[in-house]
Subunit: 345 residues, 2 copies
């Protein structure tokens, strides 16, 4: 099959790779229909985080082609969403709702395949995959379904971790696809006011479409001051940190009101949490890899029924052979997020 | 009046100080009956945190002697608990329940008096002080009422921040008075299993009296391994960090199960939060100076009706002139916590 491979920072190409095969009786083989490029993939592309040469990518939806002997719920022909983490659904962490910490689990490409390729072996298929009801979904619904494999669920995790409540004032640090998804998630929960930090006109427009009520263009101290003014000196009831840099976290903890929590989902890079200030102001932090699998049932109906359109974060579309350009467009901030048309349903 | 003064690390003596007087119309003057020595006072005593020479202490109960012209709720003769933080009860932070972040507030001895003295000026008296109903309370009830000025409410804050739930498995790092109070607080909320890290037989005994179900004697990696074994590899549902050192926090985050929160109330000293591990394992941290004032109404009936006996943490009693020895006993770990009999009701 054809699949994207990471060669070295700055170089993602498409190569011939072995077709995935069932190796465990709980595996399924999924033929990929749509795949996405994640902000976390860019950390590797930029050389900011180490990554082994080989397959890459972890956002995908597709069709089940084959199942192992012990797979009971997932059937051949199912159109499925694959979360970026594999999970058995039965261990204490899965039952506690933290499927990304599954005792038996793992992450792409520890299975041997990356999500940016024609096919993947999915371990723990019954626990991991979620069949999508219906068929013949419109292109925009398909793009939105793809966001359930990571970015929408990750934005939702930020909102859950930040304890976003109906009627609350929420601040979102980060106008990337995760931050934008976080806006949708917070609006879904019922946030009344949504302050979004963004200096990019295209992203500001989508943020407003998703429900942002206030845009703050400054960075650092300027942004902190602006949010304080917008909240009459109080700070936000909940803050979502969707970047993962030291400055973003510093801003996030500073604009959080006493007693609130910063929900963070950007993979942290060289962040030192300001524990002295956090203690003085009673500001907590909570986050991590989203337990995507645990959130899909809750989010899927809103996507299928068109109440939210998270697929709008994809503003660059190509096919698998164009994957290098898909990364470059995001890296150069020409695109918010890239979509790969890999196969057909 | 006579009052304790901090001279320099290792030296707390009693000196003549000016009697407190009303300086603001919202002030009250309280004659101190009982005062306590806090673990946070020891940071100054040991020279681990800077402290200006002068009055010290912030845990007290006493009788209102005088009130300012604008004090409406508090009356002369009221027997009151004074939280360690002053709060107006009307600002956004107070209304949000974080009275320790009151916009108009402050902390002893910013008012000019410390809690370890014969009298104090209490700013924002109507917002800060809580009258205790009844009279002629037994000595043990009096000691327990004193814990409502800080240590019991601080332990409760750790439990609230850690999101302790009925039926849960809770781990407590720290067997000092705060950790012990945290046990009481978690039991009150309904925790089913309470794993307490302690290597001191006297404290272990009190921990068990308060409701600890398991004692772990190791430190560091040994303690982490022991808690993992006790929880079948899962970790605790909620962790309370009641020390404030790097090792205690490291242990606390390591024994917290994925999806849980470490509630921390020990003033942090040279702690660097392990954000990479916290992210990977979805472990949050939340804490700070306890909003004591906001918790007293909830905790007071349990103290008055004897359902909990937090005053048991005081195992060294002296009078105001003995304050130096009260600090020394705690510093040398001869005492869990010291009580000063300063006046009579």
């Amino acid at each position: 099959m054809r699949a994207a491979v990471f060669n070295e920072p700055g170089s993602i190409t498409v190569a011939d790779r072995p077709d995935p095969v069932i190796t465990q009786p709980t595996d399924a083989i999924v033929r990929v229909v749509l795949s996405g490029v994640c902000g976390s993939d860019l950390w590797y592309y930029r050389g900011d985080s180490p990554f082994e040469p080989g397959p890459i990518g972890h956002e995908l939806i597709g069709v089940v082609e084959e199942i192992g002997a012990e797979v009971r719920k997932i059937k051949r022909g199912d159109f499925v969403i694959s979360p970026f983490a594999f999970s058995d659904g039965t261990c204490p962490h899965c039952r506690h709702g933290i499927t990304s910490a599954c005792s038996a689990g793992g992450f792409y490409p520890s299975n041997g395949d990356g999500g940016q390729g024609e096919g993947v072996r999915v371990p723990l298929a019954d626990g991991t995959l979620v069949p999508v009801p219906g068929s013949g979904h419109a292109d925009e619904t398909m793009a939105s379904l793809l966001t359930l494999s990571d970015v929408l669920a990750t934005g939702h995790h930020a909102a859950v971790c930040a304890d976003v409540k109906p009627g609350g004032v929420v601040a979102v640090v980060g106008d990337g696809a995760v931050g934008l998804s976080g806006i949708l998630a917070a609006v879904r929960i019922g946030a009344e006011r949504l302050i979004v930090l963004s200096r990019n006109p295209v992203r500001q427009e989508l943020a407003r479409e998703f429900g942002a009520t206030d845009i703050v263009e400054g960075r650092g101290e300027e942004a902190i001051e602006a949010v304080r003014q917008l909240t009459r000196g109080v700070g936000a009831d909940a803050v979502m940190e969707c970047v993962g840099t030291a400055q973003a976290m510093q801003t996030a903890t500073s604009i959080a009101r006493p007693g609130s929590i910063v929900g963070y989902v950007g993979v942290p890079h060289e962040i030192e949490l300001p524990i002295g200030d956090m203690f003085l102001r009673n500001v907590g932090v909570r986050g991590g890899s989203a337990p995507v699998r645990a959130y899909i049932e809750e989010l899927l109906p809103d996507v299928l029924e068109g109440r939210i359109n998270p697929g709008r974060v994809f503003d660059f579309t190509t096919d698998l052979e164009g994957v290098g350009e898909a990364y470059a467009a995001m890296n150069e901030r020409r695109a918010i997020k890239s979509l790969l048309h890999v196969g057909t349903v």
